[in-house]
Homo-oligomer: 181 residues x 2
DNA sequence: TGTTAGTGTCACACTGATGTGACAGATACT
DNA sequence: AGTATCTGTCACATCAGTGTGACACTAACA
């Protein structure tokens, strides 16, 4: 593949992720225009809109899978893995702001992959509970959901927070809350 | 207005909120069909799709405004007001699952109203911080975002949790986190 | 029971988005 | 510089959703 083609492809995917996150009904024409590319160029690479969406989802899934691997959720010490995961997943969430739950209906194949990644995190949080990092009187799924949302919040509502700061804040408030003790 | 008309109108608004929450690009025809009503009936009540969306947003805003009033965020004791607000806002979030941020682009008027309600909560959380309920080393906006997301999580990802239970869990984990101390 | 308000349905015009064909022109790589 | 690759553009067919008109029909309310 030629170098400019790679550039364009990349621009289309990222621009698509951004615009579709703002408005899921964004047209291909709008994405192409924003990416500085003709509409026809997008259609050459992706036969249908579904295919474009699928490619965007795959790109996000590729990034987050790398993060899950690097964090060593199974082998590493729980606190360390947690901090590392959070710190690394924030840039991914920022680069690919597209809503993951949306792919559920749009692309069953990608959704299966997403669920598998989600299950890895489930197991990690379960392990954190087993090893006594988490309170026993709170559902594990609740802690899991909280982790997800704290990451999303830091990534998108606090764009000025750099990943290490964000990770500190997230882990701290996840474990200790925001109340004065 | 005739009684059956009221029923139909109500069904359209609720069905619309539900379907649009799942898929923001749901057509009027789909909403009408799901509500057991002809497409033409919807158009008689709402001249345009925008108008239907606006009505749905207004319905949600009406409900949540009542909750904000009842919670007495300014006068009541902070802990009491917090618990009451959370307990009452959960059913509202469940009945009107439509995404509030989406109305930002769709309906500027409704958005202004939403921001005003949001500001009331901002002030309440600020007051909670001032009165020492919240840690001083965490941004107030962070606590605010956390509150929002915990409510959403309890409302939609834990549909079996009844409002009082949910309120206990939310307030507890908001203030104390999910970590063993 | 009669009147009125409200609904369902066939039909139609219009708009915007999707997807395709063909071809000339530009750009990257050797 | 030459070649294969990639892109922009005019044009077109298609489809789904929006919004409207007219008319017969049904259900609520007095």
């Amino acid at each position: 593949m030629r170098a400019d083609a790679v550039r364009n492809l990349d621009a289309v995917l990222r621009t698509g992720a951004r615009l579709l996150a703002e408005d899921p009904s964004t047209s291909i024409a709008a994405i192409a225009a924003e990416a500085g590319v003709d509409r026809r160029t997008v259609y050459r690479r992706f036969p249908t809109k579904e295919a474009l969406l699928a490619a965007i989802f795959q790109a996000k899934l590729d990034s987050s899978e790398r993060v899950l691997d690097t964090a060593r959720l199974v082998e590493a010490q729980v606190a360390v893995a947690l901090h590392r995961y959070v710190e690394d997943i924030i840039p991914v969430s920022r680069e690919w702001p597209v809503d993951v739950r949306r792919m559920m209906r749009a692309d069953p194949a990608a959704n299966a992959r997403r669920e598998e990644q989600s299950a890895r995190l489930d197991r990690f949080v379960q392990r954190a509970a087993d090893e006594g990092l988490l309170r026993a009187d709170v559902p594990v799924h609740w802690a899991r959901a909280m982790l997800n949302h704290l990451v999303d919040t830091a990534a998108h509502q606090f764009p000025l927070l750099d990943p290490p700061q964000a990770a500190d804040l997230i882990v701290d408030t996840l474990l200790n809350g925001v109340g004065r003790r």
